[in-house]
Amino acid sequence: MINQSLATLSQMLAEKQVSSVELTQTFLDRIDTLNPDINAYIALDQDKTLAQAQAADARIAAGNALPLTGIPIAQKDIFCAKGWQTTCGSKMLENFIAPYDAHVISQFDAVGAVNLGKTNMDEFAMGSSNETSYFGGVKNPWDLTRVPGGSSGGSAAAVAARLCAAATGTDTGGSIRQPASLCGFTGLKPTYGVVSRYGMIAFASSLDQAGPMAKSAEDCALMMNVMAGFDERDSTSLNRKKEDYSRYLNQPVSGLPLAGLKIGLPKEYFAEGLDAAVAKVVMDAVAEYKKLGAEVIEISLPNTGLSIPVYYVLAPAEASSNLSRYDGVRYGHRADQYADLMEMYCKSRAEGFGAEVKRRILIGTYVLSAGYYDAYYLKAQQIRRLIAQDFVEAFKRCDVIVGPAAPSTAFKAGEKVDDPVAMYLQDIYTISTNLAGLPGMSVPAGFAQANDGVPLPVGLQIIGNYFDEARMLNVAHQYQRVTDWHTRMPDLTAIEGVA
């Protein structure tokens, strides 16, 4: 059951083969067994979760069910959920019980989905390995000595280990796609503005975007149908017509399913820095696409290399300001001992934030400070435009862009923790889409052997033009119809057996 698609689970619920309470309990039991080792969840609340499952069962019985009614979904702990501990992976918010719902949470509530729990994440979404979480690192279910990627590492591990039917994530520089690649499942970062940011704890406001993390493109499409939509409480939410993200998936095809599709391979994504084994998996997937009828051309995104420096100016700048509200005055951590206001601020923030968050606040503060704004912030915004223009040019020549989602497979816990620059390079292929505001996804494309012989998942990144999510999902879906990488599950019998 835990391995079924959302559509199948929905059908099973509709046909009363299983109740939402039973389904939910199955996942809760599995979490009970596996979470102590994987650490995917920060907050669980069985009573709340099961109450939602019961309500969903009533709704199904009443014949008012929607596709995700009764489906247990894991929520990244970046979304405020009323009555739930909402920590954003930080000691600063360890005791923060959100008094309101994020838009994403209310969207899931409205369709009767079940909130299974809040998943672990890098602190304030700053990290690529989930090791910056105050609540401890998350283990990659494919190899517990490795990281799941980040920042949506808890959701990633939960999806990979089948500790939820699907999960939400957020992606500021790759935080959905890189963990999706490292944990072997399908994750989509939509076009900026498609999913409301209201109630999603801000990291870098102009880049943050929530999206689905699920077993397949089909599941991601169903998740998108719930998550996407205009929200008047977010000024950057785009007022567009509601769309059905599944609409292309099951259209009858005559001939090759992707005939006429032009795929661009950016040469910069295959340059130095890309693990050879990863490159091979990606090229095998490209070959598969040719078989599906796609035409493959080489393109260039010449400013790719600059995306990291630009990102590490803009994201910390916005973050340094976004995180100023954590001052110990109205909620969150306040130092236990302080002599005056200044000390209260400085100690509360020094104690409440972890090392990586502090580093980024300091970088952001520095690049915005008097005398440096033009050289750093303004310059980065100018190069941001160059990066976005690269994509405009590229999409004149192709329909989707394909390449690796991450330069390597999952690395060992602790391996990069003391080398921020090496860690930052994890997002080299994902950051530029955030800067441009484009949608991107990672799709399981096979496995590459690590040095120690462990086979680890590799993700294929698909980047689409603005608002082209439905087409991207179909491009992924057609691949998933002829491959089975997305159905592979890590072997967790060792820890399952212990329990």
Partner: protein, 482 residues
């Protein structure tokens, strides 16, 4: 050495909206602490701002009123600093691209001593939209401050002038003019006690004739015009004395203490601020089209400058009278109502600016509370015009009306103030006066003009002030063969 003071103002006008600038929380004054502090006002994690349309309309109205450029595209920026009444750790304001650009207001500086009144143009540098902070309440708990965020997020228009003013009187005249203007166009209630209209005054001094600006000190949060006058005068003296004693002025933020009449530097603002402004990524550029402006223009009342010109043309008022009457919307309305009730324009203007204003000032009342309505004033002026009463008698009638003793005609009747215009009766009085004052008659005939006035005085006295003075003059002239 002769010194010159240079003054510029930054005024924060709270905009008259129902809700906050970036959230739907109420802006009503006086609620219990933090009961109007919604999740956006207290900056819970994850909340986002959405701009209030009415606040934008207020800014457009102001721009139109001071003839300013209204930016087709302006940008909200974050001003970053930590303060307990600033829940986000930044204030959403406008920095590089404000909504209102360069404009100007014309002020009337009143006469002082032997210096006559004069007009002056004060240039507006810019006006921008921003959010207000909360309030710190002291003394509730020993050693602690209490933070009330009801005010946090209230829309403000910050109006900045060029350093165009050269005296406390000019600064106060500008502040009063602006205070009236924002109320006139309905964007601010002008309540200075409640903090709806707050002025920060930048003061510097320099040797007269120099064109270099001195180092300025900023007097914060002045909440009355009287304090503003005192604060600027004190600050100017202090700066001049400091320089004359060989000291230097350091840029500082100072507070005015009304009890001592002195200014002192604020301790909390001593360290240099670095506000790290950058465009707020949660908000998009604010676009204002010609159509938006035209729509707002339709909602605008006639502006003071237009009304002043109309008063001169339509009512034949002098520049000074028209300016004085249009210095306040209430005064202008009162004048127009008086004229519409049948009074002649010139006396209506004189009485509105004179007797009415003097009484209101003396009793610290506003026109809305005037015991004498425009209609009542008009009926009084009509009685002067039709010679029922003299100007002097009118003053008595006015006093009585002010004190609630009834309507004009009833008071004239009750006090017997009706003017005597019956030629026969006046002749009889004059005959008596001439008979009793032969010596004066002789003096007049001997060429002493003054004696004539004395005789008029005697005749008026004999009539107990009720005789029509013009008639007395005329009849006396005839009788004396002058």
């Amino acid at each position: 050495m002769e010194w010159e003071v240079v003054i510029g103002l930054e005024t924060h006008a709270q905009l008259q909206t129902n809700t906050k600038i970036f959230s739907g929380a109420s802006t009503a004054f006086g609620a219990e602490p933090n009961t109007q502090a919604c999740e956006v006002s207290i900056a819970l994690p994850g909340v986002l701002p959405v701009l209030n349309k009415e606040a934008v309309h207020c800014a457009i109205k102001f721009g139109l009123a001071v003839n300013a450029e209204i930016a087709p595209r302006s940008v909200f920026a974050r001003k970053n600093y930590f303060y307990p009444d600033l829940p986000k750790g930044y204030q959403i304001s406008q920095y590089e691209l404000p909504v209102v650009g360069k404009g100007a207001v014309t002020i009337q500086v009143p006469a002082a001593g032997k210096n006559p009144a004069y007009e002056k143009v004060v240039n507006i540098t810019r006006a921008h939209l921003e959010e207000d902070a909360g309030k710190s309440v002291h003394g509730a708990v020993e050693g602690m401050s209490g933070i009330d965020l009801n005010r946090a997020g209230t829309p403000l228009l910050e109006i900045v002038t060029e350093p165009d003013m050269r005296s406390a009187a000019e600064a106060v005249a500008y502040a009063k003019k602006l205070h009236e203007l924002v109320q006139w166009i309905g964007i601010c209630d002008g309540n200075m006690q409640e903090g709806s209209f707050r002025c920060d005054v930048n003061v510097s001094v320099r040797p007269k004739g120099s064109d270099k600006l001195g180092t300025r000190r900023e007097i914060k949060n002045l909440n009355s015009f009287r304090f503003m006058q005192q604060a600027i005068e004190y600050e100017t003296r202090w700066q001049i004395e400091t320089l004359e004693d060989g000291g230097t002025i350091h840029q500082a933020t100072v507070l005015f203490n009304p009890d001592t009449g002195e200014t002192r530097a604020m301790r909390s603002k001593e360290e240099a601020n670095d506000y790290r402004y950058f465009p707020d990524p949660d908000l998009l550029p604010l676009e204002i089209t010609e159509a938006d402006k035209a729509q707002v223009k339709l909602l605008m009342p006639e502006l003071p400058s237009a009304m002043k010109a109309r008063f001169e043309a339509e009512y034949g008022l002098t520049n000074y009278d028209a300016a004085t009457l249009t210095a306040s919307r209430a005064l202008a309305d009162y004048f127009v109502a008086t004229v519409n009730a049948g009074a002649e324009a010139k006396p209506a203007a004189n009485w509105t600016m004179g007797a009415i204003s003097a009484k209101l000032n003396a009793e610290e009342k506003s026109l809305a509370d005037s015991p004498v309505t425009a209609v009542q004033l008009a009926s009084l002026l009509k009685r002067i015009a039709d010679n029922t009463i003299s100007n002097n008698a009118a003053k008595q009638v006015f006093e009585a009306m002010w004190n609630g003793e009834g309507e004009v005609d009833a008071i004239i009747e009750a006090k017997g103030l009706k003017q005597v215009s019956d030629t026969g009766a006046i002749e009889a009085i004059i005959d008596e006066v001439l008979a009793a004052n032969q010596a004066m008659v002789e003096e007049f005939k001997a060429g002493k003009e003054k004696a004539f006035n004395a005789l008029v005085g005697q005749a008026m006295k004999a009539s107990k002030g009720k005789a029509n003075p013009a008639q007395v003059n005329e009849i006396l002239k005839t009788k004396l063969g002058a």
